[in-house]
């Protein structure tokens, strides 16, 4: 009934029409490119592209709201952490020091540090939308077959796709259990303090977890009975042939990986230094 936290979103858009393989290659290209490249201009372009793709995809922010929140919180914590523990790292990297706000002890806010942290944050913005989009626009069986086609062992690929398949079921189960526990007074809404909430959430998750283990046990028996794992390979009913747009997307992925490698040489280092 309600949309899953993270999973396939059935609202056909241009990205849904692409083959799972090409989307996976694109997502991997973005991840790899962003891992290599620390050039803020490159990251800005990739981030802009990722956001544009999101706009094209017809996936709504609301669909993945929870995941986006989690990522936003994590990115914020990460930024605070970097500043607390290494406020001088920007200066170290770029070799200059422009103090914007003088803080206590070594916590001076420098332009270099802000620039460094901007780069790190841009990595999130560049990488995550494309990965989320891949998951949201690829139907789980195709997702599994795409992984298998690029060489991931099929058991592993199928496990991932199966996890996605059962997310809606687990969510429904969670709602049922949570209703019963709330009716017993185990409130997990904002009305109670954080500690009580955490404890009550535990009382909801425990039955869910045990139930999930049982379910995994019975699924694995059912799959074995139907011959899963009998041979070194398997065929896939759902498989889409590659079409020209898929080839273009994969070429784009290649460019995304090549660009930061070229930039490494041009910049003479991993970072583009606007301060020098």
């Amino acid at each position: 009934m309600s949309t899953p936290v993270l999973g396939y979103i059935d609202r056909p858009g241009p990205l849904h029409a692409l083959s799972g393989v090409s989307k996976l290659v694109l997502a991997l290209g973005v991840v790899l490119g962003a891992m290599i490249g620390f050039d803020v201009r490159y990251l800005a372009v990739v981030a802009a592209g990722s956001i544009a793709l999101w706009g094209l995809s017809r996936v709504r922010l609301r669909d993945l709201a929870l995941v986006l929140w989690l990522i936003a919180i994590f990115a914020t914590l990460n930024n605070i952490g970097i500043f607390l523990f290494a406020p001088g790292y920007g200066t170290e990297l770029f070799g200059t020091r422009h103090v914007l706000v003088a803080g206590p002890w070594h916590w001076d806010v420098t332009a270099e540090q802000l620039f460094y942290q901007l780069t790190v944050t841009l990595k999130y913005v560049a990488v995550l939308p494309s990965v989320l989009l891949f998951v949201a626009t690829t139907r789980p069986p195709e997702f599994a077959s795409s992984l298998a086609r690029i060489g991931v062992p099929y058991r592993f690929a199928y496990a991932i796709s199966l996890a996605l398949r059962y997310i809606p079921d687990v969510q429904r189960e969670f709602r049922t259990i949570s209703l019963a526990q709330q009716a017993r007074g185990l409130d997990i809404s904002r009305a109670v303090g954080l500690r009580t909430r955490a404890r009550n959430l535990g009382s909801t998750l425990m039955p869910l977890l045990m139930g999930t283990f049982d379910r995994i046990e019975s699924i694995s028996a059912a799959m074995e009975l139907r011959g899963f794992g009998r041979g070194p390979g398997r065929t896939w009913l759902v498989r889409r042939a590659l079409r020209p747009p898929d080839v273009l997307v994969m070429l784009a992925a290649g460019l995304l990986v090549a660009a930061p490698i070229v930039l490494l040489g041009v910049n003479g280092g991993r970072f583009w230094n606007p301060f020098g």
């Binding site: 009934m1 396939y8 609202r11 139907r139 789980p140 069986p141 199966l162 398949r165 809606p168 079921d169 189960e173 709602r175 049922t176 259990i177 209703l179 019963a180 526990q181 709330q182 009716a183 017993r184 007074g185 185990l186 409130d187 809404s189 009305a191 009580t196 009550n200 535990g202 009382s203 909801t204 425990m206 039955p207 045990m210 139930g211 049982d214 379910r215 019975s218 699924i219 028996a221 059912a222 799959m223 074995e224 009975l225 139907r226 011959g227 899963f228 794992g229 009998r230 041979g231 390979g233 398997r234 065929t235 896939w236 009913l237 759902v238 498989r239």
Partner: protein, 616 residues
């Protein structure tokens, strides 16, 4: 069908167990003892037995999950398609015997019907182009060919089961082995499954082995043999007519078809010669018809007889004098008790997907008086659970109102409602989070911030009421399913709600456990708790409630005496329920009020149970 059996005698044995015993590695006792069982090609057999009788283990022994998935010690021999499952890979046994597990949702691994049916083909590396034709063929055999693109969320329980059947038929298996195929289905879907299996058996010659304890439903179509199990042994292996006449079923915790039990109560038990499997075509003798008529009359006119445990509830005076005819609407009978729940034109509309909504409930007006024990009946998807969710505040109303204890509950949180209306889920595992019984019961009380003294007082009271006092210090994991269920009820009762709502309280329990559990609920009811049972089990409603609300497609079809509902073919058809054998029996004995026979039956059954409890 004797001729059929004779054919089968000549056919080659497909499954053969000889002096077979099995002990799970983690257990101190063998689960199966000295099993001798032969299933020949083209046979259709039912394996019945109470919980813990070893039925599921027998399935694992046949389909190769023993020893490939479950380890333990084996004695004796097993041959499936001429081979020992232990010495060949699991898949080669699976290519002879296709297993359909109990929970068809867990078996559904694809995202659509076609993908799920294809699963086995994919694993065999069947080329992509050959798959669609084979999928379409298997799916149409299983009667699901028109839903190939549907996703599991869009299918009913019965349809998911058909997908599971198609998923094994795609391999051209010779035997279909089904583990409690009816456990999660409503009566109409259950019958449809039994009919489908019968068609496969007749038309395709598939050998069918059904493991089930809902025998009356299985016997809706002929089977060649019934194998009765108890305590890990085969007690009987005989044609259904012989077994029904033998009385062995009752002895081993299996409920015989209701018409068979009724004839026994009437003092004229069935014989094998009269083919007693089905109420519609049993050869009734004139002596039996006369006996039934006398028996029913005795119940109706004997004013003293209905003094069973049900007629002594405290706050509900006169609730259900079960023998009285014309008890169509109970509210009139308990006019003094205040209303515990009062629903006015309740409507519930929820969004399903973008820009679409579904109306789950429409115009439900009904009430429950304090001290009543009522049933909410309907097929899966009729709106029973939604009704409970609306009362508990999990689903918002889009019209009408819900009064709890006479007060409009609008704006109350789930927790506030929970103090007045306790909600017990179907599976105890869905509610239990503490390792110890007393902690589990105290959990909700602690959350309310009650004093330690009050917590221990209430815990003691509910432990006693639920018969759990001897187990209070036990770890929950050491309890049986029925005991765990009692723990969840105790934990809700501790909150001292006025109304207890139970979702499918007896699903999957065998007759003995079911009777014991319902007896417990009736005692609770007798001491003042109002009980609402959500169920699709007609027997349950007839035997243990005074009144039922019948839902279908979100609307209230009837608010009446369950015996009246049960014997109304038109109403049961519209609600996807089924009339039971008692209705046929009444019709064939020319009894004007079929529900009089139902009431008489319930009365006799309760007296029987009281006797058997007294013996213990």
């Amino acid at each position: 069908m004797p001729s059929h059996t004779r054919d089968a005698e000549g056919a080659a044995p497909l499954i053969e167990l000889a002096e077979y015993s099995f002990q799970y590695r983690a257990q101190s006792e063998p689960t199966l003892h000295d099993i001798d069982l032969t299933v020949r090609r083209g046979e259709k057999i039912a394996i019945v037995g109470a919980s813990g009788s070893g039925k599921s283990t027998l399935i694992s022994a046949i389909n190769g999950l023993i020893p490939h998935h479950h380890r333990g010690t084996t004695h004796g021999t097993v041959r499936v398609g001429g081979q020992d499952p232990a010495t060949v890979p699991l898949v080669s046994t699976a290519s002879v015997v296709g297993t359909v597990l109990q929970d068809s949702n867990s078996q559904f691994v694809g995202l659509t019907v076609a993908e799920d049916v294809a699963f086995s083909l994919e694993n065999q590396q069947v080329p992509h182009d050959e798959m669609p034709a084979r999928i379409a063929q298997a799916a149409s055999l299983a009667g699901i060919g028109d839903r190939l693109d549907a996703s599991p969320q869009d299918l009913s329980g019965g349809q998911k089961q058909r997908v599971a059947i198609a998923g094994v038929l795609v391999d051209d298996v010779e035997v279909l082995l089904l583990d409690e195929p009816l456990a999660n289905l409503d009566p109409a879907a259950g019958r449809a499954t039994v009919e489908l299996l019968d068609d496969l058996h007749r038309e395709r010659g598939t050998t069918i082995v059904i493991v089930e304890h809902r025998l009356e439903d299985v016997l809706h179509r002929d089977v060649d043999r019934i194998v009765l199990m108890a305590d890990g042994r085969i007690i009987a292996d005989a044609p259904p007519d012989d077994l029904l006449a033998s009385g062995l079923l009752e002895e081993h915790g299996i409920r015989p078809p209701l018409h068979v039990a009724a004839l026994r109560h009437a003092g004229e038990p069935v014989t094998a010669a009269q083919r007693p499997s089905r109420s519609a075509d049993i050869d009734l003798t004139s002596a039996q018809i006369a006996a039934v008529r006398t028996w029913v009359d005795a119940g109706t006119h004997g004013p003293g007889s209905p003094t069973t445990d049900g007629s002594t509830p405290g706050p509900a005076p006169g609730s259900g004098e079960p023998g009285a005819p014309g008890t169509v609407s109970t509210p009139a009978e308990a006019p003094h008790a205040p209303l515990a729940l009062d629903l006015h034109a309740v409507r519930c509309e929820v969004p399903v997907g973008p820009a679409r909504t579904a109306v789950l409930l429409e115009g439900i007006t009904a009430s429950v008086r304090r001290g009543e024990m009522i049933g909410v009946l309907g097929s899966n998807g009729a709106g029973k659970s939604t009704l409970a969710r609306v009362i508990c505040g999990a689903e918002a109303l889009s019209g009408g109102k819900v009064l709890i204890g006479g007060v409009d509950a609008h704006g109350w949180s789930v927790t506030e409602r929970g103090k007045r209306v306790g909600f017990v889920l179907q599976e105890p595992g869905q509610m239990i989070s503490q390792p110890q019984v007393t902690d589990e019961i105290a959990l909700g009380l602690r959350a309310q911030g009650l004093e330690a003294e009050e917590i221990s007082r209430r815990t003691t009271v509910v432990l006693e009421a639920c018969g759990l006092t001897p187990f209070r210090t036990w770890p929950v994991s050491a309890l049986s399913h029925g005991q765990k269920k009692r723990v969840t009820i105790a934990s809700v009762l501790a909150l001292e709600p006025e109304v207890l709502i139970l979702d499918e309280p007896t699903a999957g329990q065998d007759f003995a456990h079911y009777s014991e559990f319902m007896g417990f609920l009736r005692t609770l009811n007798a001491t003042g708790t109002t009980v609402v049972l959500i169920t699709h089990d007609m027997h349950l409603a007839v035997e243990h409630t005074e009144r039922v609300l019948v839902l279908s497609a979100g609307r209230l079809l009837a608010d009446a005496d369950p015996a009246v509902v049960l014997t109304d073919p038109e109403l049961t058809r519209r609600a996807d329920l089924v009339t039971t054998g008692l209705y046929d029996l009444a019709r064939r004995c020319d009894i004007a009020d079929p529900h009089a026979l139902v009431h008489r039956f319930v009365q006799a059954d309760r007296a029987d149970q009281a006797d058997s409890e007294a013996c213990r």
